[in-house]
């Protein structure tokens, strides 16, 4: 318990690069994740060119893509598949999760529970660097022979087993990312359970902390099964085992020389055992952020806080027993599919409860339309569209025509893009003054919001139309050859143009950030007049977060309490008299 060295000047490296301070690590996560989001988005903009104008050279950057990938600027099917697999992987594992959990979780959770730091600072640092390395391996894989992984983010064998070297990189990258998440989740759970400050009982926790806690459990207990699957796939690829390869495979006319005896379905079970809980990892922190922002900007307590908490826990539990709804069409019998259909319908109920609570929280409020609030409000109907379109997918019979079509793509993009990404933007605008001590421009923020709102829908709404018409996903030429697709393919051009305009509307956001760095400091530590503990310290908080550990006297959202002058009662403000 030595304290020497603490007051010494830390070197630049110790302070900013190999920092053990949760705030610096949170920032590192956030900045890295934003760059990966940009990378994933850029890949998608190239793909959208190919989808809108199949076989035409990509303008401007076509020549930079390499002759192996895009001769004459025309994206080859091989390259399209790489971009698709990496877009999915990057967006989920390197973009949204690190931003939602790594950045916001790391930065905000200790502050909201009044802790000086995370419980295990060294592990926290390791977790970030494992993530960083995983990301580097993923990006490097574009430059190995055969390019990056090209078997979809789901990496189904046998295709992935026989794929080019990029798949091996993908697997190693994933092992780093999994390690990072596991270390992170241990840290989050321990921190939330152990380091809550005096008076901060379970039902006084901000909903965001609850969301992060359940998320951490999902990461902790679901990710290992993908790690196991990844190890098995590595064995298949490197040591010639056949975990996922049945006997008698014939690839390109050649009999594959393996011992056989494996099953491709084994991978799918282990993969989806992770990947379904993973989708709730993408949405729960988003819901947490939205709840914080809505409470602050309606100036009233969240409606049904307890029901939200219980729903979140229930959602977490159930998410482990619905995974095979991604596998209805793999030959599943009636009993098992009945089980998974039932659990899938059941799991939609807590989402309905949470969303209902958020919607009812608006009633009777005094709604301030700040930029974070706009994004949070935008989240609600967008998540609703994404969530509701999950219902037909969850019924096996209805999934027959919809499976692996653009309907599925539309379903989850509504949740992750105008859903989660909006929530993350809401979080950025909401906590930016806390994190940087500076204010973002509201005008630029509103431009960013409305532009994003319009064009997100422009991209994703037509996907349902295409999907219902039966257009498959992952098609290099967008389905140009198929007669059943011919009636709906005209939408592709609109979707792609929307995607590029969506990018244009991210520029005000980037400019807003850059501008603020030279802008004036915020006048107040609590510019939104919020109640939770992160606002009780300086902006940005100093090392150790709080000068003295705060004490909590009440629930998280005591806004507009009758009989009080101010319309907010911070959690740490002692009761007078």
């Amino acid at each position: 318990m030595s304290t020497h060295g603490d007051h010494q000047e830390m070197s630049f490296w110790r302070k900013y690069i190999f920092s053990q301070d949760h705030k610096i690590i949170g920032l590192q996560y956030g900045i890295t994740a934003l760059f990966f989001l940009l990378a994933g988005f850029t890949m998608m903009m190239m793909m959208r060119w190919q989808l809108a104008y199949p076989g035409q050279p990509v303008p401007f950057i076509g020549g930079l893509l390499g002759e192996d990938n895009a001769p004459g600027g025309i994206i080859l099917p091989e390259f399209y598949n790489q971009l698709g697999a990496m877009h999915g992987t990057i967006m989920i594992f390197l973009g949204v999760v690190p931003l939602a959990v790594g950045a916001f979780g790391n930065y905000i959770v200790p502050l909201q529970i009044g802790a000086p730091d995370m419980a295990f600072p060294k592990i926290n640092m390791t977790s970030y660097w494992a993530y960083f390395l995983g990301g580097v391996i993923m990006m490097v894989s574009f430059f190995v022979p055969g390019g990056a992984a090209n078997s979809g983010w789901t990496s189904y064998p046998p295709l992935a087993d026989i794929a080019t070297m990029g798949q091996t990189f993908w697997l190693f990258g994933m092992i780093f990312l999994i390690t990072s998440s596991l270390l992170g989740s241990i840290n989050f759970i321990t921190t939330i359970i152990q380091l809550r400050v005096k008076g901060l009982t379970w039902m006084r926790l901000p909903f965001f902390v609850w969301a992060q806690l359940v998320t951490a459990f999902l990461l902790l207990l679901a990710f290992p099964s993908l790690e196991a699957a990844g190890v098995l796939q590595l064995m298949d690829r490197l040591l010639g085992t056949s975990f996922f390869l049945p006997s008698g495979l014939v690839v390109s006319g050649q009999i594959l020389e393996v011992s056989g005896g494996g099953s491709p379905l084994l991978w799918q079970h282990l993969f989806w055992f992770l990947a379904h809980p993973e989708v709730y990892v993408l949405i729960l922190p988003a819901m947490g952020i939205v709840a914080e922002v809505i409470a602050t900007n309606t100036r009233k307590p969240l409606w049904g806080y307890k029901s939200m908490v219980y729903s979140t826990i229930f959602l977490g539990f159930m998410s482990f027993v619905v995974w095979a709804h991604h596998m209805y069409l793999t030959g599943m019998g009636t009993a098992i599919s009945a089980f998974f259909q039932t659990t899938t319908m059941i799991i939609s109920i807590p989402s309905v409860v949470i969303l209902t609570a958020l919607l009812l929280s608006l009633w009777g409020g005094s709604i301030r339309f700040t930029t974070p609030m706009l994004f949070a409000l935008g989240f609600l109907p967008m998540f609703a569209i994404g969530g509701l379109t999950g219902l037909p997918l969850g019924l096996a019979a209805a999934d027959i025509p919809l499976h692996d079509t653009y309907y599925v793509i539309g379903h989850f993009h509504y949740i992750v893009a105008p859903g989660t990404i909006f929530a993350l933007f809401a979080g950025i605008y909401h906590w930016y003054p806390k994190i940087t001590g500076r204010q973002l421009s509201e005008t630029l923020g509103k431009v960013h919001f409305w532009g994003s709102m319009v064009f997100m829908n422009g991209i994703f709404m037509p996907m349902f139309v295409q999907g219902l018409a039966g257009v498959s996903r992952r098609l290099w030429d967008a389905g140009e050859q198929y007669a059943h697709a011919s009636g709906v393919l005209w939408t592709n051009e609109w979707m792609s143009i929307s995607a590029w305009l969506l990018f244009v509307f991210q520029l005000p956001f980037i400019y807003n950030i850059l501008r603020s760095l030279r802008g004036p400091k915020v006048e107040s530590d609590n510019p939104w007049q919020a109640t939770t503990l992160e606002w009780a310290t300086t902006s940005p908080p100093g090392h150790g977060n709080f000068a003295t550990p705060p004490v909590v006297y009440r629930g998280a959202y005591e806004y507009s309490v009758p009989g009080h002058e101010a319309d907010f009662l911070p959690q740490n403000q002692p009761e007078k008299g």
Binding site: I193, L221, P246, S247, H269, V321, M332, G333
Partner: protein, 103 residues
């Protein structure tokens, strides 16, 4: 958990008993292995013995006997998910609407 020296002395003895039990059970499993029981029975017996040994290690060496509630909840939850993984995967093999193992 403040163990006094006396407690620890008691514990030492327990540890040695447990060691004995584990060793005996190991020998028993191996011996049963030579009986060539029908596979169903063999699985049940072997897993039963392994579970007994496992719980001895967990409850005594890992002090689960006197652990805190949170740890119990955590392990219960983990166990539940593990069971879900096992059972649902096994069920999905048996309830399969096709013929496996065609070359």
């Amino acid at each position: 958990m403040n163990h006094t020296a006396h407690d620890v002395g008691q514990h030492t003895k327990t540890y040695l008993y447990i060691f004995g039990a584990l060793a005996v059970l190991t020998v028993v499993t191996v011996a049963i292995g030579y009986l060539s029981l029908p596979i169903g029975t063999a699985v049940v017996v072997a897993l039963l013995i392994a579970s007994v040994k496992g719980s001895l290690v967990a409850s005594v060496f890992m002090h689960l006997r006197s652990e805190k509630k949170i740890i119990y909840w955590l392990l219960l939850m983990t166990f539940f998910f593990l069971l879900a993984l096992f059972i649902l995967i096994i069920a999905s093999i048996y309830d399969f609407g096709g013929t496996p193992n065609v070359a």
